[in-house]
């Protein structure tokens, strides 16, 4: 029998703390167990992610114990705790629906008082993979830095304190932001989280590489000194301080964590009470300040775009780059990674100007699945395309909108990379090659958009393909990249020929040649894609409406 189908009489009346605590803990356990009651595919994913998290936790404990005795063990342990606490704080913002017991709006109809409710929710929050992971980290950390009985005793306090501060942190952040998180803006934010992670990985990667070269862990000590005073890392820091014999510092560090826990619980209780007693205003229409652009739909810089379909489509595409979280996320990721990869390599002295072509390639991918980016709203486009000419203008306008961003950006990245490397001589040829790559991506992207459209789910940061269409997406992008490279072959061949046959004086020729060639194949690609788009409108609409 689960909590949910227990007869109402067995639920303890509000106010009896143990009663509610056990109800909530059992509810949480039921929810965890119900994770297994899904289709076999999801079940496998669920189990494997659990096993993975457990293995990671065990590995962490083993690693931390191995760290014992290292001169930098306190530094590492304190920073790790700080990092995990940061994770707890941001997690609810990125995964708002992660925990169903977290949502106070589900409890609002129940006769519960805030104080026992807080205790019960806190207890329920301690059940799960995340808390288990954190517990392993805290245990391992204490094992790594505790030397002597006094330090071990401090550790006994520090471990639960760390765990409680982490959980209370997540809860109070989530409760304080629940209105935001259940609104459209919150969901938009969740979609953007993928971006933060994608770009973050690049920086972490770079940071680790730097760390490997610049004096190792010692360079982290100043950071650890600061983080060691911040809760909950200060609790772990206290264990280290006791081991070093600095009892005063240890007491202060522990006190900071305890005070933080108290403050967090108080904040959480306050926002929870407010949330459960005040009416939900999130659905009320807010008075929109009327903007200056009352007369026309065209404003600002958009007025510079040409009239007719070309300007209209460009305007819409560009607005979507800014306003649609999914489009924005892919664009910012492409822009960031397109810059980071060549620049970081150049900064480390291992790069080449040719890596700047990476930016052109990353940005060119945005031309792929153009109609999938419209989602089922593509019907509005479909209804206005009645000839090959319409389809041509539509595709051309989308390519132009793309070029408006990618062309200056490609130039910028290429020039920056050349500047960092000091390799000005190779700039024209690298730029020419970038233009050819961009043209090839636009050409293949236009064709792939017409022939292999697929749906992009609007919810969730990590789903970019609707179920069942992943193969289609991969064929489209992989095939496109291979044929894009083939299309660039003439320019690549010319570059190599000029280098090999020692005609370096003519290498500047690659800039105009690449630009003209890129423009020509892009034009040809759009030309070829147009009749196919016009013929396949209903099929494209069906393919992009599955999200």
């Amino acid at each position: 029998m689960t909590v949910l189908d227990a007869p109402a009489g067995t639920v303890a009346p509000a106010g009896r703390r143990e009663g509610i605590v056990s109800v909530f803990v059992r509810l949480k356990l039921t929810l965890l167990r119900n994770g297994l009651r899904r289709s076999s595919g999801r079940k496998a994913a669920y189990i494997s992610s659990m096993v993975f998290a457990l293995l990671l936790a065990v590995g962490q404990v083993v690693g931390l114990i191995a760290l014992r005795g290292n001169t930098h063990s306190t530094t590492v342990v304190v920073l790790l705790t700080g990092l995990v606490a940061l994770g707890w704080a941001v997690m609810p913002l990125f995964f708002p629906s992660g925990d169903e017991t977290l949502d106070p709006s589900r409890l609002v109809m129940l006769p519960l008082r805030p104080r026992p409710l807080i205790g019960a929710l806190l207890a329920a929050s301690l059940v799960g993979i995340g808390p288990l992971f954190t517990l392993c980290l805290a245990l391992g950390s204490v094992a790594a830095v505790a030397h002597g009985a006094a330090a071990a005793a401090t550790g006994v306090v520090a471990v639960p304190l760390t765990l409680l501060v982490c959980v209370a942190l997540a809860r109070s952040v989530a409760t304080a932001n629940v209105r935001l998180l259940t609104s459209r803006k919150g969901r938009d934010l969740a979609v953007l989280s993928g971006l933060v992670i994608a770009v973050g990985i690049q920086f972490v990667n770079f940071g680790i590489q730097r760390l490997g070269r610049a004096g190792g862990l010692a360079s982290l000590e100043p950071a650890a000194d600061v983080v060691g005073w911040l809760p909950p890392a200060s609790a772990i820091g206290a264990v280290g301080s006791v081991s070093e014999g600095a009892y005063g510092r240890a007491a202060l560090q522990l006190l900071i964590s305890v005070l933080a826990l108290g403050a967090l619980v108080w904040l959480w209780e306050r926002s929870l009470t407010k949330l459960m007693t005040a009416p939900d205003g999130s659905t009320l229409a807010t008075a929109e300040p009327s903007r200056g652009t009352s007369g026309t739909g065209r404003s600002g810089l958009f007025a510079l775009l040409p009239e007719g379909r070309t300007g209209t489509v460009m305007e819409r595409s560009l607005r979507y780059v800014v306003r649609d979280p999914k489009t924005k996320a892919t664009w910012v990721a492409a822009l960031a990674i397109g810059l980071i990869v060549p620049m970081l390599n150049a900064l480390q002295g291992t790069g080449s100007v040719y890596l700047a072509c990476f930016a052109a390639g990353m940005l060119g991918i945005q031309m792929y699945n153009q109609f999938g980016q419209d989602t089922s709203a593509f019907w509005m486009v479909s209804l206005t395309i009645s000839s090959t000419r319409d389809a041509y203008v539509e595709l051309r306008a989308r390519a132009l909108a793309l070029l408006l961003i990618t062309l200056p950006y490609t130039v910028l990245v290429t020039v920056l990379t050349a500047a960092v490397l000091g390799d000005w001589e190779a700039l024209p040829e690298a730029m020419g090659l970038s233009f050819a790559v961009l043209g090839a991506m636009l050409a293949t992207g236009a064709l792939a958009s017409a022939l292999y459209p697929y749906s992009i789910p609007q919810e969730g940061a990590f789903k970019n393909v609707a179920p069942g269409q992943a193969g289609l997406a991969w064929i489209s992008i992989l095939g496109g990249m291979v044929s894009g490279t083939l299309l660039c072959a003439p320019v690549i061949a010319l570059t190599i020929t000029l280098h090999v046959s020692d005609m370096r004086g003519w290498l500047w020729l690659l800039l105009p040649a690449g630009a003209v060639y890129g423009a020509l194949i892009a034009w040809a690609g759009v030309r070829l894609a147009a009749p196919r788009t016009a013929r396949r409108l209903p099929e494209i609409l069906t393919a992009v409406s599955k999200g």
């Binding site: 009239e307 007719g308 206005t384 209903p538």
Partner: protein, 282 residues
């Protein structure tokens, strides 16, 4: 509004033959003619060979229960879904062979498809109108009037993604009307719409058909169809069970609802004893 009156007058002159007298002889082509239309999705036949002839200048209701094939039919008629078989003409032009003629003459409000929701209401209209090839100034003028009439002026700068269901239907209707189409296809235009918005939509549609244009809309709410339409087609299980004027389809039955239930063959289920506790002693 002078603009709409002018437009209406213009269209009435071009379609006078079509609408000459409600019961008069029709020489011009019907608004929509469908012959032998089929559509299968895998094993399931959504539309099983229907023939339809919808007269121009009427307020036409396509009624049927959920899953009858109404949306599939309207999607095929408007060129959004390719039929397996069959011929469709709108205003005498084949939908699949002559899209240039057809697409400029029809306005569509589909059900279950998104709009470009990250545009504001006004931007959406500006976008749609310009894609339709209307001059910018004209689009802005018409958009302002439509937003006013449909009671959306206050929300015109809000993103459509933040609109309520009723507001979405209204902005969709505005986008469908913007180019002054001859035939307007609306899929469940009143589904999930509050009474005030529904009344606004009704008013606009009635005014639009008075000008000689044709409205074809699908619904499963019989009272609504009965009060709005003068011509009805009943669709069940992918087939047309009856079509004709409201009086013809209704026949002897007291209301369209009961005529429809007779056509569908839905006997009135009696719940019997199975819910006998409901309303019993508490």
């Amino acid at each position: 509004m002078p603009d709409r009156a002018e437009a209406a007058a213009e269209r009435t002159t071009t379609t006078t033959e079509t609408t000459a007298g409600a019961g008069g002889a029709r020489t011009a082509p019907p608004a929509v003619r469908v012959q032998g239309l089929w559509k299968r999705f895998g094993e399931q036949t959504a539309v099983a060979g229907i023939d339809l002839e919808l007269p121009a200048g009427r307020f036409i209701g396509l009624v049927g229960p959920n899953g009858a094939g109404k949306t599939t039919t309207l999607s095929m008629v408007t060129g959004l879904l390719r039929p397996d078989m069959g011929k469709i003409e709108v205003g005498g032009h084949d939908v699949w062979l002559d899209p240039v003629q057809v697409k400029s003459r029809i306005g569509v409000l589909p059900e279950g498809l998104r709009l470009f929701e990250r545009l504001s209401g006004r931007e959406l209209l500006a976008y749609t109108g310009r894609l339709r090839g209307l001059p910018g100034a004209e689009v802005d003028k018409r958009a302002t009037q439509l937003l006013d009439v449909l009671d959306l002026a206050g929300a015109q700068h809000k993103l459509v993604v933040d609109y309520s269901t009723g507001m979405r239907k209204k902005i969709g209707l505005a986008a469908a009307l913007l180019h002054n189409p001859e035939v307007l296809f609306l899929d469940e235009p009143f589904e999930g719409v509050d009474p005030v918005s529904a009344q606004t939509i009704r008013g606009v549609l009635e005014r639009y058909t008075r000008s000689g244009a044709t409205v074809v809309f699908s619904s499963h709410v019989m009272e609504l169809v009965e009060s709005l339409c003068d011509w009805v087609a009943v669709m069940v299980g992918g087939r047309i069970r009856a079509q004709g004027t409201l009086a013809e389809v209704r026949g002897e039955a007291p209301s369209l609802q009961s005529a429809f239930l007779d056509l569908v063959g839905a006997g009135r289920h009696d719940s019997g004893d199975s819910l006998d506790w409901l309303g019993g002693t508490r």
